[in-house]
């Protein structure tokens, strides 16, 4: 039963990724803009362009190109970036940790902030406090992540410059890490200066990404909490002497989290999509920022690599959401 589920899952994942690869491959090739023409100096002849195109295999049909590319992918070779002249896999995997750390931090902020507001709202249900929180989260939700980014840059970068508004880490800090997980490796190696600098650089972009999701969690989780708080088992907990706060935290939260979780999973993939613009805004050296450069330069192999990685990331996240759903819900665990 379980094995069958895993198998079905793997097959659908493979099909999805293949579909994404095909679509992206075709789209970037039919879209206007010639990557080779952009690489060469203005005086280049059409012969020069044709020669270089042949070198990158762009003279072949799209189908042939795809077969060649797919053959490479199956051997672990995602091609070479046209502008950066490095293997795509190396470039993309080098940037992935930055984006992963950023979006994870944003997710934690969203869960912490949204969860707290939801619990307070449920605790103060049917009072002015609840209405106030609803209005606030509604307002927060109506402002998209990149606008939050601009607001933060203005507030804490310009008007009251207390946080750095660009980059991932203070360039004066010297360190030699094996991975690009600055926070993770910094913690393991005890390099807290690296960790602190990275965190302070991540704070604003992470907040920008987190706020809309936090507001959504606040609203949905509170609604679910209020429903659960009418259930007989929460009434029974009150009869047994538990305070309203401990009824919410001990009896209601896990039940209310279940329906919230499905939405958080979907929204988290949107959040990762949001890193593209937000990373650009804060000159944060992540995957999204690299994606924008790749598109501007029509760096086809790099675009393909990045999109495929994003698609793979989304699949993994969906898998994790399903897994945590099963862990939280005993009815699913026992079949």
């Amino acid at each position: 039963m379980l094995l069958k589920n895993v198998l079905v899952r793997l097959i659908t994942t493979a099909i999805t990724l293949f579909g994404v690869a095909v679509v992206v491959f075709v789209l970037v090739r039919v879209a206007p803009g010639n990557p080779i023409a952009m690489m060469l100096p203005p005086g280049a002849t059409s012969e020069d362009i044709a020669n270089l195109s042949a070198l990158y295999g762009f003279d072949k049909s799209i189908f042939e190109q795809f077969v060649i590319w797919l053959g490479g992918v199956l051997r672990g070779d995602f091609g070479t970036s046209i502008t950066l002249r490095q293997p795509v896999a190396e470039l993309v995997l080098g940037r992935l940790p930055a984006t992963l750390e950023l979006s994870t931090m944003a997710l934690f902020i969203a869960l912490g902030l949204g969860g707290t507001v939801a619990v307070i709202g449920a605790r103060k249900r049917d009072t002015a406090t609840e209405v106030g929180l609803d209005l606030t989260s509604g307002a927060v939700l109506s402002i998209p992540d990149f606008l939050w980014g601009l607001i933060f840059v203005l507030l804490f970068g310009v008007l009251w410059p207390i946080l750095s508004i660009s980059g991932r880490i203070d360039p004066r800090i010297e360190f030699d890490f094996t991975t690009n997980f600055y926070i993770f490796e910094g913690l393991i190696r005890g390099r807290f200066d690296v960790v602190m600098s990275t965190l302070s650089h991540m704070l604003m972009p992470a907040m920008s990404l987190a706020l809309p999701l936090a507001a959504m969690i606040a609203q949905l989780l509170k609604q679910n909490l209020k429903e659960v708080l009418n259930q007989d088992y929460t009434t029974l907990a009150r009869v047994r002497g538990f305070s309203e706060t401990s009824v919410i935290l001990r009896e209601a939260l896990r039940n209310a989290a279940l329906p919230t979780l499905a939405l958080v999973g979907v929204q988290f993939t949107f959040l990762i999509g949001g890193t593209v613009i937000v990373e650009r805004l804060f000159a944060f050296e992540g995957l999204g920022n690299m994606a924008i450069d790749a598109v501007i330069n029509r760096d086809l192999p790099l675009i393909q690599g990045i999109v495929l990685l994003f698609a793979a990331l989304f699949t993994v996240i969906n898998l994790l959401v399903d897994l945590s759903y099963t862990l939280l819900n005993p009815r699913l665990r026992h079949g």
Partner: protein, 298 residues
Amino acid sequence: MTTQPHEKTLEIRQLNATLPNGMRLLRDVSLTLEPGEVRALVGESGAGKSMIGRAVLGILPSAVVHSSGDILLEGQSLNALRPKTRRSTVAKMSALIPQDPLTALNPVRKIGPQITDPLVRIHRWSRDRALKRALELLERVHIRNPERVINSYPHELSGGMRQRILIAAAFAPSPRLIVADEPTTALDVTVQKQILQLIRELQRETGTAVLFVTHDMGVVAKISQKVTVLFAGRVLEDAPTEAIFNDATHPYTRGLIAATPTPNATAEPFRPVPQDLIAQLQRDTQAEDMRFYQGGRK
């Protein structure tokens, strides 16, 4: 806490409850419960039986705006207590056996902690003592394999099992008072008898006073010493069970008894409470409401 022999376990004095639209749910309800006594609360659906139980336990719906009167647990007036103290006082002295065992257990938590949590966190028992007590009571309510059951989730158990567990949980802290709100109506008929029997046995063994909400006069005859008959939030009659069955003073009560199908007298035709009697009672209630509101506006 030592109980004075003369002290009543529960005393409800002139209890009133009203909705924002002025609808009166309870009208000057008074009743008492002696230690170890079982009192049945009967009346048709919507009469306010559950509302009385909820008032005692401090879980009135938030929509109930106005309530006056007092409730005393072993002589302690609950009105005199601050909300927090009131909550813990009520929790330490009383327990609830709910109506629907399918919704009264938390679906994502194991059975064990759902019984032991209040013992440890509210009654301040040690974990070991709480666990021992839980196992002992599960065994007492005829649950085979209690060690396995405490590690189960509610959905793995039948409705009858869950109600036994809720009964065990209610009796676990040795409360002075148990409110049982139609504890068998949600169950299969065959299981109903066993559950009723179980509550009666445990009540006799422990000497716990029970406020037993039901609309089944057959159940009343089996379990209670006293009966309170309610109509539209008003006490129509309050008498020992025997007296109620032998010569009820109020025609509505006689109607209720007559309306109860008795298994050993199947030849007797089923007679519901006469409609004109109910209509008369409703008119009385409305007239009383008029007097109440006019009196209040003076």
